[in-house]
């Protein structure tokens, strides 16, 4: 690997591991301290490596430095505890005998346990995603701000509040017990799913950053699958869904960074390796008695890996959406179901159904109606697309709809 790339690469891979191990050793209330030590460790690397050369085993070097810094911190805490604390009665201290366990197993376990801690139901979901990006994915504050289309101050405040919450609730860094596992895993999967969507649908222009978000959420999901207790059908279904979606990354943007819609994508650009992986995890998800929404969405995503339209394809997608809507309603699922209905049974029936959806403040609703009418009533299609433009909330959406509108006006 290139010298220039080494530190960023190590940072991405090792920062989160160091934080997780330190947090596990110190307790969640010292999460900021863990972040500081991990940060200082990389700072030391940046300062010394250019002069003394890159150590033979850079990873081991980082862990050794982090270990030293942690030890110094513990000694300082110990002095504080013995000499100063008795007078001022501070909060909890770190046990000075804490020894850092840097075994492969502890590094993996610590990361998984941190994942459960960060996705604790007591933490607001938005903060969970921020914390996950910072602590579990090693993202910088600026990157997180970019991904959320906001500024560093907002993210810093959000993370600060989340850390406070972790402290107040005294959330332990451990695997939940058997009875609790299901509910807690549900929260973890929700966060990973949102993290993926944040990357997939983000408005951020930085496509590398957005793909990174998706890949990170996939990495964390895979971490769960590699661990026996959490290698459950719905976790496999979630990863399958992510693989199928991610397979379209290379085809989703044109040279100018504009979104290319599914119908217009060059399917030869779809990543066949990821599609294969998606199918693999989909097969592994077909166990147990419960069908989760991830199972249904993964199956829908599977049908979308077949570009050619067929009645079978759309009939299956329609049925899957019917099931998905029973399990958990969302306006997007209702709109997609209606689109599948049009593809399976024709636009007339779909229009009748669409008019009952009552999503009149949603621009996608009018995009759908425009699409349904475009085949046989151009005038109505144009009216609906225009309404959609007026309701669209982002420039990207407006541009996409305007393109549809233009193609109609030209053809007329």
């Amino acid at each position: 690997m290139d010298k220039e790339e080494l530190i960023p690469h190590l940072f991405r891979n090792e920062f989160r591991k160091i934080i997780a191990v330190l947090c596990k050793a110190f307790g969640i209330e010292h999460i900021s301290l863990a972040e500081d030590i991990a940060g200082e460790t990389f700072l030391s690397a940046l300062e010394t490596w250019p002069y003394r050369g890159i150590p033979e085993n850079p990873v081991a070097w980082l862990y050794a430095v982090a270990k030293n810094k942690a030890r110094n911190q513990l000694i300082r805490q110990k002095i504080f505890k013995e000499k100063v604390a008795p007078q001022i009665r501070s909060g909890s201290e770190i046990e000075p005998e804490t020894e850092l366990d840097l075994s492969e197993k502890n590094i993996t376990d610590s990361q998984l346990q941190m994942l459960f801690a960060v996705c604790h139901p007591a933490i607001p979901v938005e903060a969970q995603i921020g914390l996950a990006l910072r602590i579990l994915c090693g993202f910088g504050i600026e990157e997180i701000a970019h991904a959320f289309l906001t500024n560093k101050e907002t993210i810093n405040k959000r993370l600060f509040r989340a850390r406070e919450k972790l402290r107040q609730e005294n959330i332990p860094i451990e695997f939940p017990g058997k009875e609790e596992m299901k509910a807690r895993l549900y929260a973890v999967l929700t966060t990973l799913y949102l993290l993926f969507n944040e990357g997939y649908y983000s408005e951020s222009q930085d496509s590398i950053l957005r793909e990174d978000l998706c890949l990170e959420s996939m990495r964390l999901t895979r971490l769960l699958i590699d661990f026996e207790k959490t290698d459950l059908p719905e976790v496999n279904a979630l990863l399958s869904l992510m693989c199928f979606h991610a397979s379209r990354f290379p085809a989703r943007k044109d040279a100018n960074g504009e979104i290319i819609l599914y119908d217009d994508q060059d399917e030869s650009l779809w990543d066949q390796e990821l599609i294969k992986q998606g199918a693999y995890y989909l097969r592994r998800s077909a166990k147990g008695e419960r069908i989760s929404k991830y199972h249904l969405e993964a199956h829908i995503a599977y049908w979308h890996t077949i570009k050619t339209d067929s009645h079978e394809k759309w009939e299956n997608i329609l049925q899957l959406y019917n099931q998905l809507l029973q399990l958990s309603y969302s306006p997007v699922a209702a709109l997609n179901r209606t689109y599948a209905l049009a593809k399976a049974n024709g636009p007339e029936e779909a229009i009748r159904e669409a008019e009952k959806l009552g999503l009149t403040d949603n621009h996608f609703y009018y995009v759908l109606l425009g699409e349904l009418y475009r085949g046989f009533d151009q005038e109505k299609a144009i009216v609906h697309f225009k309404k959609a433009v007026s309701l669209a909330r982002t420039q990207t959406d407006r541009n996409t709809i305007l393109k549809k509108l233009e193609s109609l006006v030209i053809r007329k």
Partner: protein, 114 residues
């Protein structure tokens, strides 16, 4: 918004349908529920298979049934949300159960739990 139970009443629970026929009804039922779910009005529901059905009488005797004594059998129900009983009735009209001669749908308001 109130909740209504839409109860599927079959004229004759002993009538045996072919597997293909059953398959088609299942499919139509899924579509019917899908239409209601797409409007975010579906709450819950279940089928009530006729196999192993029993009736427990007031003297605690148990009979197979409820066939024989009463002809009509409940095949399942779904609970929907609706602004009015008229809207619930509209949902009920979409049920594939009504394709069977003599079958009916009963619409009942669910009492509010406080």
């Amino acid at each position: 918004m109130d909740e209504y139970a839409l109860i599927m009443r079959h004229e004759d629970g002993l009538k045996v349908a072919s597997p293909e026929q059953l398959q088609e009804w299942m499919q139509q039922t899924r579509e019917w529920i899908g239409r209601i779910s797409a409007q975010n009005k579906f709450v819950s529901g279940t089928g009530l298979p006729f196999a192993d059905a029993k009736v427990v009488h007031s003297d605690h005797t148990v009979t197979n049934g409820p066939f024989g004594d009463i002809k009509e059998t409940i095949g399942g129900f779904i609970i929907v949300q609706a602004d009015s009983v008229e809207e619930a009735v509209e949902f009920a009209k979409g049920s594939p159960v009504l394709q069977g001669q003599g079958n009916s749908m009963e619409v009942r308001k669910v009492s509010k739990r406080n």
